[in-house]
């Protein structure tokens, strides 16, 4: 089953209105890395969601592909100031993975292969605003862009869209992630230019 997220069929907004403050548009898709690129075969891939009570849900690659899929077109905004418009993704909305979880947690720590982490509010993963994305522009997501699957949270700066995602850990306290612990903003809203600690 495939659905289309709102806005999939094009937007009337002029590009200038889609560029957050301090950003420049690019046709490129730069790769920023914090370490060697993990190469995770889909046969070995899984995703776990763990609540603060220790309840764990797990999906294999095949299990994820059987979930409701969604195509979405999104603008990406990197804290290093580039923005890329109309990127085309396919994946599973986070609402599907988080449905009916018994939790009082308000925060999530996203954990990736290679040791990368990022923190964000649980609410920002809900409401059709975040995906586990496995396809980019009609092709399997390349390892350098986070394949086989990455988090996609396009309403926040791109460092929140963790590449090579493997686990979501729901927490009752806010735990700074890889970049958040060295001066980057806990939330990272590009429209409020929340780049660094104190912005």
């Amino acid at each position: 089953m495939t659905s289309f997220s709102p806005g999939f069929r094009g937007r009337a907004r002029p590009l200038a209105d889609r560029l957050p403050p301090g950003q420049y548009p690019t046709e490129a898709f730069p790769v920023l890395s914090t370490g060697p690129t993990p190469h995770v075969p889909t046969a070995a891939w899984d995703l776990t969601v763990t609540t603060e009570h220790g309840e764990t849900r797990r999906w294999t690659w095949d299990g994820m592909m059987e979930l409701p899929q969604q195509d979405t077109v999104q603008d990406l905004h990197c804290v290093t100031r580039w923005s890329r418009f109309d990127t085309r993704w396919r994946g599973v909305p986070l609402d599907v993975f988080l449905e009916d979880l018994e939790t009082a947690a308000e925060h999530v720590v996203v954990e990736s292969h290679g040791g990368y982490t990022t923190n964000l509010p649980l609410a920002d993963l809900l409401g059709g605003r975040a995906w586990i994305a496995h396809t980019y522009d009609g092709h399997p997501l390349a390892p350098e862009h986070g394949g086989p699957a990455r988090l996609l949270v396009p309403h926040l700066y791109l460092w929140k869209s963790a590449k090579w995602v493997r686990a979501l850990r729901l927490t009752t306290t806010n735990e700074p992630g890889f970049w958040e612990s060295v001066g980057y903003h806990d939330y990272g809203d590009p429209w409020r230019e929340q780049r660094t600690w104190g912005d």
Partner: protein, 91 residues
């Protein structure tokens, strides 16, 4: 281990670290707590420079340090933990 096209060597840390260290940093000796490999800071594999510099063990990719320059501040973590020191430096 990593190919050599996606990272720099630790000599690129000389400038950013010299802002907060009084001694020339690249000859500092470091021993990896994960794989026990040892060598000079100049031999680390460094990823970045944006959003920040991540220096890793050339043997096992364990994080040796992370450094982020933001305006008049340098943020530094030593090792893989998340506790960072923030230094004020001259812009």
């Amino acid at each position: 281990m990593a190919d050599t096209s996606d990272h720099l060597d630790g000599n690129c840390l000389a400038g950013p670290l010299s802002e907060i260290l009084a001694l020339e940093p690249t000859t500092a000796w470091w021993r990896c707590p994960q794989c026990a490999r040892s060598g000079p800071l100049a031999g680390l594999h460094v990823y970045g420079p944006e959003p920040g510099l991540t220096a890793r063990c050339p043997g096992c990719a364990y994080i040796a340090l992370r450094l982020v320059r933001q305006g008049e501040h340098v943020w530094l973590t030593v090792g893989g933990g998340t506790g960072a020191f923030r230094f004020r430096v001259t812009p």
